[in-house]
Subunit: 244 residues, 2 copies
DNA sequence: TCGAGTTATTCTCAGCATGAGATTGACTCA
DNA sequence: TGAGTCAATCTCATGCTGAGAATAACTCGA
């Protein structure tokens, strides 16, 4: 915790440290998981792609800073459906200018309009996560951690609904799981499973207006339920290679 | 990410921020989960209990800083069996002196000798987590987050073995789960479950020298296996209240 | 208008994992 | 020596899982 000897109360007796927030903002477009990245307009790494982020301000909370940077750099003004702290990255040398400790946040949103480059950014785009160019700083690693967190949280929380709109079908939900996990799921079993988890989804009595574009009956519409945890959980197919 | 305009490269243009690490070090003593806390020797909160921690140094990684602070403040020089980043806490006002962002780490260790107060600490003790006095700063909250993380990770990782010594019996392992979760478990089912998870434990062919202090046969001794994830997971009994 | 193809929803069924309880036999202590 | 303890194993009813199939509502192009 803070301090030891009185001398240490004065930050100038310490090597200067800067604190930033970086945001891994995820959404689903065209059945693929996308991340919001910006083209840096300033040095270092000017011209390189990076996660949106920036220095915290003296009077704002860390999460507030994440939302603000998202809005400033990308024009994504909608508050994300879900925002959670991911992890912190602070090894010496990760920024060539000075010691920078960065708190990464993970944001989920339903499909949003195209972002607009804002302060400090030359461009801002949604990009498929499985095909991201090398990112500045250690952002490639941060993105990987964020994607893994998202995949994992889909298993035991109703977070997938944060990627969907107000109303959705079970198939919409399944496509979200398939997009995030990158794995096809058994439609019948998924259906049974979702409806059997108390509080995951809530029927509305409504159905879609038409069948799918290629046929099929109208689907029932659901909204997010009040569960905070899925019990039992929806587990990913076992990934043998990750166990050992 | 770092920086915007060149002026911002200079940290003095920003309100000063200090970065600390705090450590939630957990162990099991006398069948109860204990946390390592120190009595602060300096202001602010002098005389209050707190988690061990302190400022990071310019040339060290965050995890290194956590290990160093643990050793300096408590004399716990053994490298913990497991160390992972927990979360960061950085709201304005959490430290009365200045803006302090703290990266919390979670450490697990087998039962260690009593700690010794070191730099900046008037005392250092292992204290049962379910009976901890109010802590300085937001450390009560950090501790709660750490304990919840530990409880949760026992479900799907072989982390419980980090609380055990080199060799342990299935009953030792069960006592660890019971201590951390605060719940009695069915001995027979636990036994079956642990042995059925590939790579969780590895038989040694050895047994304890004697039966238990109150009787019973000698137990087989195991060591930690090579699994990184438990599959299938050992789930806690459902906690109805946490689901909604 | 018709037929082929698509998809939401529901079933079936075998296999595995679970919780609860009981059994066996090795060991302790008084 | 006898009562009590406890590791280890089994039984059994129940529930969840993956895989496959059936049903019926809808689309589209011919």
């Amino acid at each position: 915790m803070p301090a030891s000897e009185p001398a240490e109360y004065n930050p100038r007796h310490y090597a200067p440290v800067a604190v930033t927030v970086d945001v891994v903002a995820l959404t689903i477009r065209d059945r693929r998981l996308h991340v919001l990245i910006v083209e840096r307009g300033v040095e270092p790494y000017a011209g390189a792609w990076a996660l949106p982020g920036g220095f915290i301000r003296p009077d704002e909370d860390l999460a507030e800073a994440a939302v603000r940077e998202l809005a400033e750099e990308t024009g994504v003004a909608t508050r994300p459906a879900h925002l959670e702290q991911l992890a912190s990255y602070g090894g010496p040398g990760r920024d060539p200018r000075m010691r920078v400790v960065s708190i990464a946040y993970l944001a989920f949103a339903p499909d949003l309009p195209d972002p607009q480059a804002g302060t400090d950014a030359a461009a801002a785009v949604w990009h498929p996560v499985d095909d991201v160019p090398p990112l500045a700083f250690d952002h490639t690693r941060i993105l990987a951690d964020g994607v893994e967190r998202a995949r994992s949280k889909l298993e035991y929380t109703p977070l997938a609904t944060a990627f969907a709109g107000e109303l959705f079908t079970i198939s919409d939900l399944r496509l979200i799981y398939e997009s995030v996990w990158g794995t096809p799921l058994h439609a019948g079993n998924f259906h049974r499973k979702v409806l059997s988890v108390p509080g995951f989804v809530e029927g509305t009595g409504q159905t879609t207006e038409t069948g799918g574009p290629k046929g099929g009956p109208r689907a029932k519409l659901y909204r997010a339920g009040d569960a905070r945890l899925l019990h039992p959980a929806l587990l990913r197919p076992a990934r043998e290679e990750e166990i050992r």
